[in-house]
Subunit: 347 residues, 4 copies
Amino acid sequence: MVIVMQAGAADSEIETVIAAVEKAGFRPWVNPGVERKVIALLGAVDAEKAELVDHFSALPGVERVTLISEPYKLASRRTHPDSSQIQVGPASIGGKELAIIAGPCSVESKDQIFKAARAVKDAGANLLRGGAFKPRTSPYSFQGLGVSGLELLAEAGRMTGLPTVTEVLHPADLEAIAEHVDIIQIGARNMQNFRLLQEVGRVGKPVILKRNPGCRVQELLMASEYIMLEGNADVVLCERGITSFENATRYTLDLNAIPVIKRLSHLPVIADPSHAAGDWRYVAAIALGAVAAGADGVMVEVHPDPALALSDGPQSLRPDKFRRLMDSMTQVAIAVGRQVATPHEQL
Amino acid sequence: MVIVMQAGAADSEIETVIAAVEKAGFRPWVNPGVERKVIALLGAVDAEKAELVDHFSALPGVERVTLISEPYKLASRRTHPDSSQIQVGPASIGGKELAIIAGPCSVESKDQIFKAARAVKDAGANLLRGGAFKPRTSPYSFQGLGVSGLELLAEAGRMTGLPTVTEVLHPADLEAIAEHVDIIQIGARNMQNFRLLQEVGRVGKPVILKRNPGCRVQELLMASEYIMLEGNADVVLCERGITSFENATRYTLDLNAIPVIKRLSHLPVIADPSHAAGDWRYVAAIALGAVAAGADGVMVEVHPDPALALSDGPQSLRPDKFRRLMDSMTQVAIAVGRQVATPHEQL
Amino acid sequence: MVIVMQAGAADSEIETVIAAVEKAGFRPWVNPGVERKVIALLGAVDAEKAELVDHFSALPGVERVTLISEPYKLASRRTHPDSSQIQVGPASIGGKELAIIAGPCSVESKDQIFKAARAVKDAGANLLRGGAFKPRTSPYSFQGLGVSGLELLAEAGRMTGLPTVTEVLHPADLEAIAEHVDIIQIGARNMQNFRLLQEVGRVGKPVILKRNPGCRVQELLMASEYIMLEGNADVVLCERGITSFENATRYTLDLNAIPVIKRLSHLPVIADPSHAAGDWRYVAAIALGAVAAGADGVMVEVHPDPALALSDGPQSLRPDKFRRLMDSMTQVAIAVGRQVATPHEQL
Amino acid sequence: MVIVMQAGAADSEIETVIAAVEKAGFRPWVNPGVERKVIALLGAVDAEKAELVDHFSALPGVERVTLISEPYKLASRRTHPDSSQIQVGPASIGGKELAIIAGPCSVESKDQIFKAARAVKDAGANLLRGGAFKPRTSPYSFQGLGVSGLELLAEAGRMTGLPTVTEVLHPADLEAIAEHVDIIQIGARNMQNFRLLQEVGRVGKPVILKRNPGCRVQELLMASEYIMLEGNADVVLCERGITSFENATRYTLDLNAIPVIKRLSHLPVIADPSHAAGDWRYVAAIALGAVAAGADGVMVEVHPDPALALSDGPQSLRPDKFRRLMDSMTQVAIAVGRQVATPHEQL
């Protein structure tokens, strides 16, 4: 159930509603950062009865009370009819400007991450990615540089002015990650590691939540609910390819998921064409397709020398190819009423 | 194995090569309609030996001889390095202009198909679709108007000047279809009905071959090979959604397949967002995504009154929504270096 | 809607009901071969109204009238509560005895099919399979011997006393197939070739309908409805593996489908472990699993010399391995209250 | 690379080999509990060179040296040709006796777990399952009793003499779980939570590793490698259904996976028909199919009163239905040369 306040409802009216919600035995969740406040009631869904609707509807300043039938509440567009926009330093995710998150799969060395950071910044990216803790299918593969990787990523971010994104694998690393990095990523393999979601939700940094390749959109929205319930509404969803029988590519980008998520949820949604394809030759086409279909941004793996990459080389773009993709993406963004933040011509 | 002739090779040189191929026990297949002739050798692949490469390479007018490792030969981009372009009356598929195929799922009445034809023509479509023989999951569902549906479709095509597309289900209907309609469609369910493919290949009309939702891209290319081997090179491939575990939409559009097919084959590829989504609310986003990713066109279900449609109503666009999609598609086409043939403003 | 007659209802009572059904504008379909007659009403489902239930319930000899909510009617267990049993010469499918259908993928020569037939008969199979018209993914692969293959299969059947099964690809071949073979198989790729289903339904021979690897159980049941509506109730369903992301095997046998089909439908269901695995090393385990889960039989590819097979060699069992599988299958059949018809010890 | 010692090689010979492996810069992993010792070399796979094979082959007591091409080494049947057998109190997993793990999804109360424990023990189960920490798709669902659930489970285990199994979600809970429970379960959603796998691997208790429904068999084997590398070879793999397009059941049991895993790995493999079906009506058929196909056991959800269950009620068996399943399973086990440990007749 959500209680939608009138535009311009007084703070005292909002407080009265909150108190009434608590008195009725529910936990109120106040929708952050919108003009028209929406207060969600969390608690036993069986108790969401017609009489409560009447009870809350009668309170001063309340415009209407709505039952939410979806299993997710805070992520639902009914709770928050406007699309959410998340600010991260100079960048914004979910607004008119596309979020272009680029960089190497893993931070491998100072030279590598600095070269990559400069290249993606020059091409027009507005966020820098780089993995320090790597979830590898094989225990014999490179597992990341750990904390020293975080430090290098932070340094590269400061150098270029780009906010940074890295993945968390284990609660024990959260503190170090939060200290060095601007956005915390939950990787596809941990999308349903619910305890990790809760701990990340308590950190108070924006989160990118990647869809597990074997999970439905509704499961992704339920996972975001775990983070939001801890008080963190700054969640960005990421479509990165699902499993299918097709083996010409590593995964299958679920393009449909982009308009589906946009209709069901107010959260921003981005696409990761690099993991969806597993092959750099298809990355540009998929990125452009995702933007045209309404994605709020893309996350692209770029490496100064993909042939030498310690992870995901085959799906990483060289800087010149990424620059060409940015040119096309700028055109497609305009065609669908969006824009790319800092076209590289102006840097 | 393909033998690539020099640009400007004399007809007599080509004939000599063909004779040599036949003498060696193979069936030659001459790539139609390109400046630089390419002659494919069909026959026992085990016999594709190095000595044959030397033998044919030495013939006058031959530029080079290439072994083709893919199981499909005629559909392979190696046989035909340029992208194929297929002319259908005033429309062209595979060139700079996008093919916009629109119309109702089924022809239901004269009034309905005429209204639909005018609406899609006005909005800028350049081809008219409409089913007369319908493959329905249930034998209790509307099965199409049959031959009278073909006649109405042809009449609507003549009225608007739009070439027409309809699906064939049974060899016995091929003659009537070929008489009335400009492009023959092989539906998804018949993609591996190999005998039907062969019979359609002998008709000599352009063919749209839809991907079966449970088949891989390579199987789609193999199916096109069945048609091409009969001497018909005018095949358009259509991605229309594959089966997956996601149930928020009816199928999952395999966006990756578009650049994959473009790399592997010279045949044009279009997308069908209506069947991929099964829900009109997602059709526009998916159509734009497919065009941005490089599709040569789209096939969209448009009905004058979807609520009354005898089939596929929930996934059909109303004319006004289709017109709005055409506006966006025009912009996205330009952004990726393509164009929409007849923007409705000019009609 | 189905009308269930009382046990021992008089023929005249049944005729009266049929006449009443026709008078009400519906097509009656009389459930064949059961003591308690069930008459299904085919026609506009919207017309299945409460008043009709009352009308038919009042007729003499009628026990009860039931609305059927499933989209399939004739295949539904509600229309025919007892499991169907189909007699084919000395063999029976759907009864206590398992149907063991074995033989090569393709009929390749007289020697090959005769050796295969003797081997499977000796091992205890009670039906002989062999393809004469082969649906091959590639047009360059062996396409079967055609009519001469049918003749060899029929001869091998007569020699061993085993009824025969072969696949139909094209309506034009139906007459020849019906003349030579006892059971007509609709292959997975033609499961939704609805016109072929209808034509096969009119032939009056038992049909094995294989599930398309991209189709749901409900779509399989809808396909069987197309055959049954033509008056042929002798349909055997076959689970042969579905597409999935797992690539350790060619397809994924959907074991769940066996109890699901048993609950929803009265039709017999068999499993094809050879196509599901695509690898002979897994065939025995899958066959035993299917029988334990309730399958009414299995269809297994057996070839006298798999290394020389013109199709499906890698998934074909050698005769000695098939014999060993029959020993295990005999034990598992007994464990679940079934039996294998002619244990090879007795031959 | 694995070094296979001669049967009866002296301890000193084994030590010499281990020292040589370490000197060559690799980490030796000694295969536990088999007569013929096998020593695996862990380390840079690129260094697995022919010269090393010769070097180690020449050492006294060495029978042969084999390169392992699979990405998993310790889980591979090449490292450990005999099937592994894991002892847990009176029960054993991987031997002739089937492991029958039964109990409720969640521990809900003392009365509930005691009733369930007695019922499954009486019916012939030899291990007791019960969740204390529950990974729920929705944060609004019952999340388990936590530590008090562990205590109740342990008490029920002591009362019945059944070893116990429970799932771990978070490293912080490992100590409490290890204290109270005999087998630690990694749930499907955490199969690729690699850090948790490592921590569980260090605990020194047998582990049941459930397959993620979106992961391939090879990914499951790679995940087991993470646990084994920490020194814990007592890993049991569990097939519990994969995602597919079929929606008649919640997941699709991948029956093929059972013989595939048996061929590739020495680890025991069990099946979970309850999660695979999501519907109690199909559980028995699937369980019997899995056993016939070679599973080393099954894990079945049994609840004294499924209608009141706080989780997974629809897929839980009532005790009487479980008892009937045990009767059938006993017969099928015998048919395939296995046995059920304690047929309930003897209790």
